[in-house]
Every structure is written in structure tokens, then in C-alpha cells.
Symmetry: C2
Subunit: 306 residues, 2 copies
Amino acid sequence: MTARLAASVSFLDWMQQVQTGMEAVLDRFLPSPAVVPARLHQAMRYTALDGGKRVRPLLVFAAGELFDTPLPLLERAAAAVEMIHVYSLVHDDMPCMDDDALRRGKPTVHVQYDEATALLVGDALQAQAFEVLSGVTGADDSALVPRQLRMLNLLAQASGSVGMCGGQAIDLASVGMTLSLAELEQMHRKKTGALLRAAVMLGALGGKALSADEMAALDDYAGAIGLAFQVVDDILDATADSATLGKTAGKDAADNKPTYVSILGLAESQALAQRLRSNAHQALAPFGDKAQRLRELADLIVQRKA
Amino acid sequence: MTARLAASVSFLDWMQQVQTGMEAVLDRFLPSPAVVPARLHQAMRYTALDGGKRVRPLLVFAAGELFDTPLPLLERAAAAVEMIHVYSLVHDDMPCMDDDALRRGKPTVHVQYDEATALLVGDALQAQAFEVLSGVTGADDSALVPRQLRMLNLLAQASGSVGMCGGQAIDLASVGMTLSLAELEQMHRKKTGALLRAAVMLGALGGKALSADEMAALDDYAGAIGLAFQVVDDILDATADSATLGKTAGKDAADNKPTYVSILGLAESQALAQRLRSNAHQALAPFGDKAQRLRELADLIVQRKA
């Protein structure tokens, strides 16, 4: 990603350019596979490169475009949030958690390497995320430093025990339990919602100062797409096959985990996803045309097939 | 720790006050056990509070005293480096790594809780470390912000794949292998040395700007105590009992891991520890009397019995 893309680029072209660009950005911010310990670095690259829809980086870039965040900071934020996401998948797939053998169409890290390596890959990717986001941006702008600090704090909070890790703890504790819709929503707001929200906020916080109203509007948007993402995940888990998903389908039901589909049924879950998409669009109204990419990402999240 | 302690306080009193103070600091920077998910937060506190020699916080405070680092930043740095240390112990003790049941005289987290909780406790403590170090210090000094950013970058690097995690990967790969002394040293410079060095540097970087000579001298000191720490660890593992250590003794030999004692023998390992202590003292010469705490910490590291 050598330059900000013109607003005139179509959404699909923009998305593809961000996704392709992210490969280069992640390649640059991951340790070389030749550096000692080579096997660990190869395993980090095995799981982080060449895979995934890069939904969180897309959100970072779309929000960054709206608030004129400098590109070097956006790239670091996008790489950091994706590394946190990838580490969480590696640990989540381990035998003591979901025990899954397939991810993004490839054997999971503990299958391809071994359990200890999977543990260390996740740990090292989390550290790498904070290293990348705290690195020197090269942008000659001292105003960026306090913004970086705020972004680091936000990412750490979203990743930790009141965010993503906390959501996973609740998820584990809820196996075989009957959750109310409110409890399910509470879990997902942490488990997947916190990091999706962080992606939107990281993109925005790196740019010009946000008013309280703008912050609240972005928060509404992020909350709506975060939940929509999970509702659609549950729908796909119940309806798609493993080859399409690139991960084991039907896993939630097999694991006796409560999902939107198990609580609401399929039709009502689909209606909920559409309502959340509409909420996300409404939240963006104050930003006008400039928020078009974020609007289209809400559509993507709800309409995706994998 | 409400105030910096006077230089006239004896080393043992100073040490005890820092150790007691750290309990309060960690208590303050860990999520409340009442906050959801309560079990995860209780497990984080179970492993982080009320235990350990707090060697890394002692190094942070001693280096901070030398460079006049403001107390609110020192407290955050000390808590952050200790949280990274504690998370690494929790993951290191898991069945897929060293599979140990005893740590700091208590059952390890995966024994007391379960494996999935141990995984999440470690992940969440790492995030918490970066959250604490990126938090608002309350010290009314805008010069602190770029320092905090540099400290975050240093801690992330020391924790990650070219630091602590990398050292653990090399350690795992070296089970049953014959390592040369140089290879053993290389492993320990990453596995334990990187974070001990980070503790010294974090304390220093939060204060007045360091000259290149001062930085190099501190680096020599940190390198020497880092290795000394590991040499003494190997000596204790071979000579002390589990009750004294608070962890399983004789584990390295049982696990067929190369150690200083297995390569050099006991007497030569003890002589090496003394040489490293002397190197650490020499490195501190340019700082004069003000570095007394750091000198005494080198003595403590070499003379400890557990």
C-alpha cells in the first residue's frame, strides 16, 4: 500500500487492493523466516500470511479514510489488530480450547507443527502486535505519538480480560448451558465484538480529533457490525460446508454451544442480521458520503458466504 | 508505594518495601475479582498476587532511582514487566510445555483451574501488561508520552519472538540435545535475559535522557545479571529441594535439558556466577554511589537460595 486509494475506486477493487496490500504489510512487520528461532518465525508466518478475509484491516482502513489517519500509522494499526486476531485463532484452535484441525483451509498450527509451538506462536504474535503499533511510524508528526499511545491502550483493552479473552472465557463456561439472548449478546460483544470495534476505533483515533458525537456514532456502528458478524457466523456454521468456510462447519452444534441459530432459529437470525446492518447504516448518517466504505463493509459482513 | 524511598534506607528494607508495595500496585492494576468474567479475573490474581521474589520490579525501581524516573511511570513499568513474567510462567507450566504442577509453592494455574483457563490467563495477563504501560500516568508531564511509547516498544520486543518467546522455542527444541556453552548462553539471553534486561531499561528509559555510554553500561550490567540469574537457577535446580524453591527441583535433569551444571559442572558454574557478578559491578562503575541498589541486586541474584 504505497498510497491512499482514490475514493472513486469501486468497493470490490478497494477491498482487493487492501487485502493484497495487507499481505505485503504483514510480511514486512513479521520477523523474517531466516531469523533465529527460524521454526517459530516460520510458524508465525504460516498462520498469519496468505489467508483470511482481513475484515479487521478493512475496517481500520475504511475508518482511517474517514478521519484522514496517516498511512504509516494505519498500516501499523491494521497489522497489529490482524496479529491479535490471528493469535486468538491459533490459541482457540488448540486441543484445550476448541480442538480444531482446520483453519482458513489449512491444518491448524498445533496440527501442522505441535502444541507447544502453537502456544508460543500465539504468545509471540500478541507481543508482535504491540511492537508494531508502538514502533516509529516514520511520519514526521509529533502529534502522532499521543495518538499511538491511546491506540495501544485501546487495543490492549479490547484484547484482554474485559475484551476478547474475557469473551472466550465466557464462551468456554457456556458450553452445554442455556443462555438467554442477552447473555449470548454479552458474550459476543466481548469475544468478537471488542476487536472489531477496536479496528474501527484504531483507524479513527490515528487521525483528526473526534468529537464526542462522532465517537458515539462510530461506537454504534462498530457495535452493530460486531454483533452482525457473529450472527452471520452462526448462520454460516449451521448452513455452509467446511470447504466453503475453510474451517470445520457445524462445530457449534457438535460442541453443544449456544448460538443465535439455536436460540432464535434460522429465519429470525437472518432477520436480526438485516436489522443490525440497517442500524449500522443509520449510525453512519452524520458522516455522509465519506463513510461509504464503512457502509459497504457492513453490507459485506452481513452478505458474506464464508 | 506512595513516595520514593530515601537512599539511606538499607537494601533489605528497601527490597521489602518494594516487594510489599508491588502487591498493592499489582492489586490496583489487575481487574477486580468481581468483574465479569469473575473466574478468569480470580485466576489472574491467583497467579500474579502474593508470590515471587519480584526481581524484575526490583530492577525497574533500582534503575528508575538512578535516572529519576517519575514514580507513576515506574509503578506501571514494574507491574507490566511482572505481568509478562507471570504470564510466561503460567504458559510454561502447561502440559504441552514443561508440564509442572507447582509454582511459587502453589498448584500451577492449569492444575488449580484447568488448561483452557491457564491459556486465557496468560493471554489476558500479556494484554494487561501493555494496557497498564500504555495507560495515563497522571504525571503532568507531556515529555512522558514519547518515553512511554519507547518503553512499550522495548517491552514488546523483549517479550516476543526474538526475546522471551524465542528463547522458550529454542529451549523446547534443545531437549535431549547437546548444546555448546555458546548455544546455551544464546538461548538464555533470550529466554530469561531479555526480560531482565527490559526491566533495567524500562526503569531507566522513563527518566532523564541516557547518553550512548550510559546505555551501553546499563546493557553490560543487564546482560551480566541476566546470565548470572540463569546460572544460579541451574545451580539451585541441581542442589536445592522443591520446598525451598517453591517449584519442582531437579526438573532440568529429569527433562534431559542442557544446563550450566550439566555442561560446566557445579564448581565451574559457581565460579561463573561470581565472575558475572563482578562484571555487573564493573559495568556500574561510571554511575558511582547512585547505582548502589543495582549493585546490591546483582549480589542478591547470585547469592539467592531460591
